[in-house]
């Protein structure tokens, strides 16, 4: 939304994301800051940021699938797992280079997601949401029980660092840059999809799938597409993760992870790409500050003991999520929009 007094003078302008010079400058500064981060921040922040960037990619997919297209998905971690496994298998067994293995992981995840996309055609609402839990169960089962040679079974798969033009991404900082670049591409793409014809039909199907059909939207295809895109993002995130940890195993992609993913889009706000990023940032920050506060707390008050301190942290995190929902059910993005709107109207109260 523009500040008062500024109007778009062409449709192109009206549709663009960055509409004032100030906004462009702010964005530029932000991007530069992201690139400069490893030079100024301590290693821990860089590592946290790396995991945030990877999560952000996964969450963007979830936001497109759940927030935008309205198909609640509690199996995003499984989709991410499929991506991670595919990338790992392709990289370690078929020796595909990074730049091929990563998108290929996304494609495989997308295909897996497609299955649930097709289910979404008939199954709706809670039923669909809960059906996606099956993705989690099936993923787990198949990885463990398919021949060990294929997916590593209980052994997991190790892989070599990503390599691009002869450069090996081994250090934390190089990995950060790799994730940053991939994440920026995916984020830009997310914005692109969200405001294009595809994003619109996603939202249309979310709001009213019957009416959408009568507008000429192929609802079946659209839902499948939403899952496809969502899972593709998850797969890319999974692939990055595989290169980051260089070991994939089944217990990295569990139901609890999926639930945290949902929590992130709730806190950020459903349906907004920016909201998804905010959600990742806020939840990860909360988690990270808690895990880093813990040891300090134990040192100060030793008699509490690690078991109590860290358990209490769970209560805190749960309350943060519940609190968000109670006081701002539409997420932080909504709050932000209200703030922007009143800023536009200022000094009039409404």
């Amino acid at each position: 939304m523009d500040p008062a007094g500024i109007f778009a003078t062409s449709y192109r302008q009206d549709q663009s994301l960055i509409r004032t010079r100030n906004q462009a400058i702010a964005l530029l500064i932000f991007v530069v800051a992201l690139f400069a981060l490893p030079m100024v921040a301590e290693v821990r922040s860089v590592a946290v940021m790396t995991s945030m960037l990877i999560t952000a990619v996964v969450i963007l997919g979830l936001q497109i699938n759940t927030g935008l297209a309205g198909q609640v998905n509690i199996g995003q971690a499984a989709f991410m797992g499929v991506g991670a496994y595919s990338t790992a298998v392709l990289a370690s067994k078929l020796h595909l280079p990074f730049w091929l293995a990563l998108p290929a992981g996304g494609v495989f995840a997308a295909l897996f997601g497609l299955i649930f996309g097709l289910a979404a055609v008939r199954i709706k609402g809670f039923y669909l949401a809960l059906t996606t839990i099956a993705a989690q169960i099936l993923f787990h089962f198949f990885v463990l029980n398919l021949p060990q040679k294929w997916l590593g079974g209980s052994n997991g798969i190790t892989l070599e660092p990503a390599e691009l033009f002869g450069f090996r991404f081994e250090t934390d900082i190089s990995m950060y840059y790799l994730c940053l670049v991939v994440a920026m591409i995916m984020i830009a793409g997310g914005y692109g999809i969200a405001r294009s014809r595809h994003g619109r039909i996603f939202a249309a199907v979310r709001d009213d799938d019957v009416a959408s059909g009568m507008m000429g939207i192929n609802v079946v295809r659209t839902k499948a597409l939403a899952f496809l895109v969502g899972a593709f993002y998850a797969g890319i995130g999974g692939g990055l993760w595989a290169y980051y940890v260089r070991f994939v195993a089944i217990d990295q992609f569990t139901l609890i992870h999926s639930i945290w993913f949902i929590a992130m889009i709730i806190v950020g706000g459903m349906g907004s790409i920016t909201g998804a990023l905010i959600g990742v940032f806020v939840i990860r920050m909360a988690q990270e500050s808690i895990t880093s506060m813990g040891p300090a707390l134990i040192e100060r008050i030793p008699f509490l003991g690690g078991d109590l301190v860290f358990a209490a942290m769970n209560i805190f995190l749960g309350s943060v999520i519940a609190g968000f929902l109670i006081f701002e059910p539409r997420g932080l993005m909504h709050r932000w929009n209200i703030a922007k709107r009143s800023y536009r109207m200022w000094p009039y109260p409404y």
Binding site: Y127, N145, N314, I315
Partner: protein, 294 residues
Amino acid sequence: MIDFLNYLINGALTGLLYALIAMGFVVIYRASKVFNFAQGELVVFGGYMVWWTVIQMGMPLWIGLPVAFVSAAIFGLMIERIFFARLVGESVFSMVMVTIGLLILIRGVVLVMFGPQVRAFPMVFPIDPLIFGDILISRSMLYGGLLTIALGFGLSWFFNKTRTGLTMTAVAEDHQVAMSMGISVQRSIAFAWILGSVLSTLGAMVHLSGRSINMLSSDIGLAALPVALLAGLESLAGLLLAGVLVGVIQGLASAYLDPLVGGAIGSVFPFIIMLLMLLIRPTGMFGWKTIERV
């Protein structure tokens, strides 16, 4: 043959246990339209209440159990008071999402209150099984199963036939409409959580009798999920059939297929049955059909 019968009967009883746990989901859904992701956590909390009264405080069963049930009910009420009271009037979706927060929160509460140790769960039902020839039936499962059947029909009657039950069903249809009729959505939600809590405690009692409890016991919530969906989220009596179906198929699969494939294929069966059924009937066997009019 005898093996087969054994698997059949015990599968059915396990299925009824799932149905009992799933009843927690359905009751909360049926009275508030909220799908409770923290159902497994309610089971754990209820279970710990039983542990606390009977083992920790050393109360005899006939005092300990009622005290545990009352505490669970109070816990359910507290959840409503703290988390849902303020949300009345907001979208149902937010309420459902709150239960995700609750899931994480209750885990923390359980950890802090009861610790992470595996604790002995009281022997609520005698441990010696009933033996009919070669057929062996665990008492806790049998009594639990009977209780589940009674509850299934009883609650079904309550929600479909009594005025209070119908009033709550109205809340599950549409919060705003219910409010416009002067129905207290808040009270209905409170009732839902109290009942859900108590049923979960009952479920914990049957599930854990004589065994052990720790926070991982919440996994039963996940196992019960396919039963709830198979029956349809609005159907209580339907749970019984769905439970037996899932239990029997799972039992047979893990008896005959697990050794064959060398993996726990039995545990994915419920989800596969559920998926197939939902593809045929998108709202489960007995759930409300979506009414779509343009």
